[in-house]
């Protein structure tokens, strides 16, 4: 129970479904801030009090579990390491993979519980498959797509069948004070939302060049390649516009020589994506198969032909994508309008490229 509205309603629904429920708030920072500032973050002492109050209203026991060390090692350190390698991690996904449905679930099972219930917007079908939640705007199946079937078997997502606005209304009806609490955004361990400053603190500053990918011309400078994400357009600080007057985007980041390459949007075009070792949530498939893939949280969905082997997934997109950042997850869905698209597999994106050279004029 984060102290937000979703986990509070999820807990109340789990109780109503007849489960013997205990509320757990995860302490993820050794030095939590006392109060939230704005809608950022989710791990303050005030949030812990909100969660406790919700548990009181629901009528369940409540405890804080200290996961600060594990969280730091598995999520925050990974976050630094990925950026240092020129990649763009999704820490929510790592947290689900390593903390909520691993460290927390393992501890819970050892202590005699059967499952972890969370306020994620996703459905788990009768078939045990993870499916998109009914609210397309809130669907969180993407960040849960790292769960193994064994982890899924011990998970409950009581909110997957409900749109967010109805969850808020239900919280209000249940007398939960968090009903109108703003959603948390951004990354919970970066309290002020300044990701760039957070990274700079740890990874330091190092001057480097911003280079035109086509001509090799030096267009500007930066103070650390970890400040950038592939596909990024704003905040490049380039003094001169491109010759054609069109915006330039980050195309690639090379931490070894601290080099950031930029170019026109069409150079971001990719239609072949490879991942690292896949996680299968459904029965493992071999060979080629048709599916839909999603390349970032709340991102667009692409029809694709997916090939799987033990080393990774390869997705050849049927329509091109632009600005695919290594480090994000590729999630493979089996479309199902009636029950919700089912997650088949996922993998962390290693490379993305254009299978055939792209003509700029063709874009």
């Amino acid at each position: 129970m984060s102290g937000g509205v979703d986990s509070a309603v999820a807990a109340a629904r789990a109780v109503e479904a007849g489960h013997d429920v205990t509320g757990v708030h995860l302490a993820l920072s050794k030095n939590p801030q006392t109060y939230r500032t704005g809608a950022r973050g989710c791990c303050t002492i005030e949030d812990s009090r909100d969660a406790r109050r919700a548990a009181d209203v629901i009528g369940i026991p409540f405890y804080v579990w200290d996961m600060a060390e594990r969280f730091h090692e598995d999520v925050v350190e990974d976050f630094y390491a990925e950026y240092a390698n020129g990649r763009t991690p999704n820490p929510c996904l790592r947290c689900n993979e390593k903390i909520k449905f691993a460290a927390v679930l393992d501890r819970a099972v050892a202590l005699g519980f059967d499952a972890v219930a969370t306020g994620h917007y996703a459905r788990k079908g009768e078939d045990g498959l993870l499916r998109r939640g009914v609210d397309p705007g809130k669907d969180q199946s993407y960040v849960l797509a790292v769960l193994t079937p064994a982890q899924l078997a011990h998970s409950l997502f009581p909110l997957g069948d409900t749109p967010k606005d109805l969850v808020r209304a239900e919280a209000e009806e249940r007398g939960l004070a968090v009903a109108r609490k703003p959603d948390s955004h951004d990354i919970c361990f970066i309290a002020d939302g300044d990701t760039s400053g957070f990274l700079k603190n740890r990874l330091g500053s190092k001057d480097g060049e911003i280079v035109d990918s086509a001509t090799g011309e030096v267009l500007g400078s930066h103070d650390g390649s970890h400040q950038f994400t592939v596909g990024q357009r704003h905040g490049l600080g380039l003094k001169r516009p491109a010759a054609d007057g069109r915006p330039r985007y980050v195309l690639s980041i090379t931490p070894v020589d601290n080099r950031v390459e930029v170019g026109p949007r069409e150079a971001l075009r990719v239609d072949r994506i490879r991942t690292g070792r896949p996680v299968w949530l459904a029965a493992e498939r071999t060979g080629d198969f048709d599916a839909q893939v999603q390349l970032r949280a709340h991102g667009e969905v692409y029809p694709a032909v997916v090939t799987a082997d033990a080393h990774g997934l390869t997705a050849v997109l049927r329509k091109p994508a632009y600005g695919v950042a290594p480090g994000q997850a590729l999630v493979v869905y089996d479309p199902d309008a009636e029950h919700g698209d089912a997650v088949l597999a996922s993998g962390t994106i290693d490379t993305a490229d254009a299978a055939a050279p792209v003509e700029a004029a063709g874009v």
């Binding site: 002492i45 812990s48 026991p61 804080v64 202590l111």
Partner: protein, 385 residues
């Protein structure tokens, strides 16, 4: 439900509750000059006299406060502020104080540039007076106040207050003692102890929460924390809480009168609890001094188990106890007391405190002993996170 957390708070004694209800219905500010005021004042002064009498103090030495924490803060800060000079700016404390003292001292160090010396404890959690003697030989002229708890709130070890006060006396250094866990549970005689100040709390001995007192020797001055109407020797302003004070006195009186028999009763129950826990969980480590400890305190480390996990499992079985020490936002830090006693951090995180009080019976101990083995088995499976 078996409640074994009486060191956190213990229910009000019936006679204290009666006194509270009776007095709360009466009208009157104890500082008013009219009849109602005089009646209220009489209640307060009678309470003061009774508390003084059973604790070996003079009535004028009793200063009523709003909590034990306030009494500790008043003693430590007030006496330090009063006695500090350019050359004299050192507070002597111990490694095992409750936060009410430890954090007050730390604040004086951080914000008021006080020098702080922390006396170490031995493996049983007892302060080494030889270290204090050595310190006084060298630095007596620098010391404003010495503070040491009478009995430790976590492991229950009794401290050599009389010996420390005797060492400090020739140098004229006042000794404050946080006796919040001691009053009503072990014999406490303020005058005989030689302490200059002593803090007590109502709700730890069957009185109401929100009441406390500082016994402060007449010749010891303290700068007030609260300024206002000048109540309580002008050391603690604020309208006197007449019903709270009446109930506190009733509780102190009862606890002091029954202390000896109750301590014997609880020690028997506690020893039974200790023996049966050791039998049920052979690798459990019994912390603290086996002899010189509070009669109602049993403190164990359960190697390989997280104290938090054990607490939750016992709670679910209807047995309520405490881990080492509760911290803000639920982040369990290993207990500073156990670390000071030389425990490994993992053992310190594996600890539970069981504290018995006036309503405790054998049935409570039975419930704990019945639930504990399964809780330990599960917590061990979960391990340390």
């Amino acid at each position: 439900m078996a409640y074994l957390d009486h060191a956190a708070t213990t229910p009000m004694l019936p006679q204290a509750l009666d006194a509270y209800m009776r007095t709360a219905r009466a009208l009157g500010n104890a500082s008013s000059l009219h009849g109602s005021g005089r009646t209220a004042r009489r209640t307060v002064e009678e309470a003061r006299e009774r508390i003084a009498e059973v604790l070996g103090a003079k009535p004028g030495e009793v200063i009523f406060t709003g909590s034990g924490t306030e009494a500790d803060n008043l003693a430590v800060k007030g006496v330090h502020w009063e006695r500090r000079t350019g050359a004299r700016n050192r507070i002597v404390t111990t490694a095992i104080e409750h936060h009410a003292v430890a954090d007050a001292v730390a604040w004086l160090g951080d914000h008021e540039r006080a020098d702080v010396t922390e006396l170490p404890v031995d493996k049983l959690g007892r302060v080494d007076t030889a270290v204090l003697a050595g310190l006084l030989d060298e630095h007596a002229a620098e010391i404003t106040v010495i503070t040491c708890m009478w009995a430790n709130n976590e492991v229950g070890t009794l401290q050599p207050i009389e010996a420390m006060a005797a060492l400090a006396a020739p140098h004229g250094i006042p000794v404050h003692t946080d006796a919040i866990q001691a009053v009503g549970h072990v014999p406490v005689d303020f005058a005989a102890s030689g302490a200059a100040a002593l803090a007590l709390s109502g709700h730890k001995l069957g009185g109401p929460t929100g009441t406390g007192a500082l016994l402060l020797r007449r010749d010891v001055k303290a700068v007030p924390l609260l300024h206002g109407g000048g109540q309580e020797r002008e050391i603690r302003s604020g309208t006197l809480d007449v019903p709270g004070i009446a109930a506190l006195a009733e509780a102190v009186l009862h606890a002091a009168r029954t202390q000896q028999t109750e301590a014997q009763r609880l020690a028997v129950l506690r020893d039974d609890l200790v023996a049966r826990i050791r039998e049920a969980v052979p690798d459990a480590i019994y912390n603290g001094d086996p002899e010189l400890r509070l009669p109602g305190n049993a403190h164990f480390s359960f190697p390989g188990c997280e104290g938090d996990a054990l607490l939750m499992l016992l709670d679910a079985s209807g047995v309520e106890c405490a881990t080492g020490s509760a911290c803000s936002a639920g982040i369990a830090q290993p207990s500073h007391v156990l670390l000071a006693m030389g425990a490994a951090p993992d053992d310190a995180r594996s600890s539970l405190r069981f504290t018995l009080g006036w309503p405790t019976t054998k049935a409570d101990v039975d419930a704990l002993v019945a639930a504990l083995p399964e809780a330990v088995r599960r917590a061990k499976t979960a391990g340390l996170t």
